[in-house]
């Protein structure tokens, strides 16, 4: 079941578009904001709410990088792996972060705090390498600084 709050937030998007399906991405992001990810059950509920088939909606969900169909940690740390960050040493940042967290990219850390994910160019290439934790962009990251940044998120 979608919560009353989730329904209200989804309904607020509906007047912006002529069809209900157009809200599918917004709807999944709203549910994900409240629950961390989009489970099979949530997917069914959203599809029903929008009058779509569940498989059509899953086709949309699986297309987009920022919709999670698996649980994630309390925080998601995205490390840019595109070309400018790569030239400036993003691989070293990734290696240090996965070693520090003891989990590979895409896995939840043992303490449930983080999921580390690669992400495409974050559009801050003059400050490469960059990473984003939840909504916060971090610039001019080094392996040491990356570990220190993770320490700020409980």
């Amino acid at each position: 079941m979608l919560s009353a709050e989730e329904q209200k937030e989804i309904e607020a998007e509906l007047p912006h578009y002529p069809t209900k399906q157009a809200v599918s991405i917004d709807a999944m992001k709203i549910v994900q904001k409240h629950r961390g990810w989009v489970s099979d059950e949530a997917l069914q509920d959203i599809a029903e709410f929008l009058g779509m088939s569940t498989s059509d909606l899953d086709g949309v969900a699986s297309f987009y990088n920022l919709i999670f169909r698996k649980p994630v940690g309390r925080h998601v740390a995205y490390i840019c792996d595109s070309v400018s960050c790569w030239i400036m040493g993003s691989q070293g940042v990734t290696e240090r972060m996965t070693a520090h967290c003891g989990s590979a990219l895409g896995e939840i850390t043992g303490d449930g705090r983080f999921t580390l994910l690669p992400i495409v160019c974050l559009g801050a290439c003059d400050h490469a390498p960059v990473m984003m934790v939840d909504d916060d962009l971090h610039l001019d990251v080094t392996p040491e600084k990356a570990v220190e940044i993770l320490g700020r998120y409980e």
């Binding site: 917004d26 999944m28 595109s82 070309v83 400036m88 160019c121 003059d126």
Partner: protein, 423 residues
């Protein structure tokens, strides 16, 4: 030197709100078109200015606007393509976070010129600060009566919405973007019909890049010949946001006359290469542009001159390759990106790009074989324009084909030595 696009931007500070924007002359251009210009006059002025699309393709903006059919009633749509996801590109973010009302006013004027009644900002989901700036600006514009019904007493009506996407390079492709806005997978659509004839939900639609739209209020205020005079280029008008990233002394972004040379951007503005590294080449405008090397540095960065040497300006934000960085590794990184972001809709793209990526990975890991260079060269032809549904794969072929040309010795060395010499 005039810098109209960035004149209101103070890096590190909050963007101008409605009143500050108005004090700096903001919304005068909107007022001018609504009170004294017909939609056709606006289109003609933009045509005369030689403004070309700043998303990378360089198509003349006024001509594109002219494609919108005049006889089809509402709903009609204008979309700002703010899905900046071309690797190495960070210019639209700067404009949105620095002066959001400038974009919004540009969209309003574009919408009036094309008689659109709904406008969307299609913004990538990762750009949180841009989202905050744009939402606030849209709300302020509604509050001041610049959006909604009967704008400035003109009887013209426009609604504007922010759509936050969920991340995929294909959303920047014009027709992929339309599918994404409709809540679908961002696969490309067959053309024709082109979006002005059948766009969002089958209705007339025009999509323009953020930087393109930001130029529009200035063209209206100051006129087409002023705009042309900003440029050093014979065929393109205006200024351009140029950028540089990689191992240069001062990576950054600068608004300069269109047609500024590659060398001036690299050496004067970016400060040249860092201590201890040497220049080897650069991608002039994002990941999907052909390499330029030393011999090209005195060329002007515009839409015509770089094409003559087999490259293109793209987004105008250069990515610099230095001698401490492996060109084969860089191409592996680039082709990994394109293979990952391919939507899978057409076979040459998903198959060809993942094949190219695997060959580059093998070379980097010491498993390169005789014949690999020829296989990569074949892929660049196989993925050429005309063989695929959209421009993603031809774009992916650009750095690869020029990389094979300029750095062939490095590819051969990887195969011969069965290792990456940079590791």
């Amino acid at each position: 030197m005039e810098t109209p696009l960035t004149q209101n931007i103070s890096p590190g500070q909050a963007p101008p709100g409605l009143q500050a924007y108005e004090r700096a002359g903001g919304y005068q251009a909107l007022r001018k078109v609504l009170t004294s210009m017909t939609p056709q006059q606006v289109i003609d002025e933009v045509k005369a200015s030689n403004l070309k699309g700043r998303g990378g393709a360089g198509f003349p903006t006024g001509v594109k606007w002219g494609f919108m059919p005049k006889d089809i009633p509402a709903p009609r749509y204008v979309v700002a393509n703010a899905d900046e996801m071309e690797p190495g590109t960070f210019k639209d973010r700067y404009l949105m976070e620095g002066d959001p009302h400038q974009l919004i006013e540009g969209m309003m004027i574009a919408s009036y010129a094309m008689q659109a009644d709904i406008a969307y900002v299609f913004l990538r989901g990762e750009y949180k600060r841009s989202a905050e700036a744009i939402s606030r600006a849209i709300a302020e514009a509604y509050g001041a009566g610049y959006l909604g019904k009967n704008i400035l007493g003109s009887n013209y009506q426009l609604n504007m919405y922010l759509h936050l996407s969920a991340g995929r390079y294909m959303c920047g492709e014009e027709t992929g973007l339309l599918n994404a806005l409709e809540g679908k997978r961002a696969n490309p659509r067959a053309k024709p019909p082109f979006p002005p004839v059948s766009g969002l939900w089958g209705r007339p639609t025009t999509v323009n890049n953020v930087e393109t739209l930001c130029n529009v209020p200035h063209i209206v205020n100051r006129g087409a010949s002023w705009f042309q005079g900003l440029s050093r280029s014979s065929k393109d008008g205006g200024t351009k946001l140029y950028g540089a990233s990689g191992k240069v002394r001062r990576p950054g972004l600068w608004e300069l006359p269109m047609g500024t040379t590659v060398r001036e951007i690299l050496e004067e503005h970016a400060g040249g290469m860092r201590e201890g590294v040497r220049f080897r080449g650069l991608l002039p405008g994002g990941a999907s542009t052909d390499f330029l090397v030393e011999e090209h540095l005195d060329l002007p960065m515009d839409f015509n001159e770089l094409q003559k040497v087999g490259s293109r300006m793209g987004t105008g934000t250069m990515i610099i390759l230095d001698d401490q960085t492996c060109p084969v590794g860089m191409l592996w990184n680039l082709e990994h990106f394109f293979a990952q972001e391919s939507c899978g809709w057409c076979t040459p793209c998903w198959s060809g790009l993942s094949w190219a990526e695997k060959i580059l990975a093998a070379m980097e890991q010491g498993r390169g074989q005789q014949g690999d260079i020829e296989k990569l060269a074949f892929q660049t032809k196989f993925l050429a324009p005309g063989n695929t549904f959209c421009a993603l794969a031809p774009g992916a072929a650009e750095p690869l084909q020029s990389g094979l040309k300029y750095f062939r010795d490095d590819f051969e060395r990887h195969i011969r030595e069965k290792r990456c010499p940079w590791r």
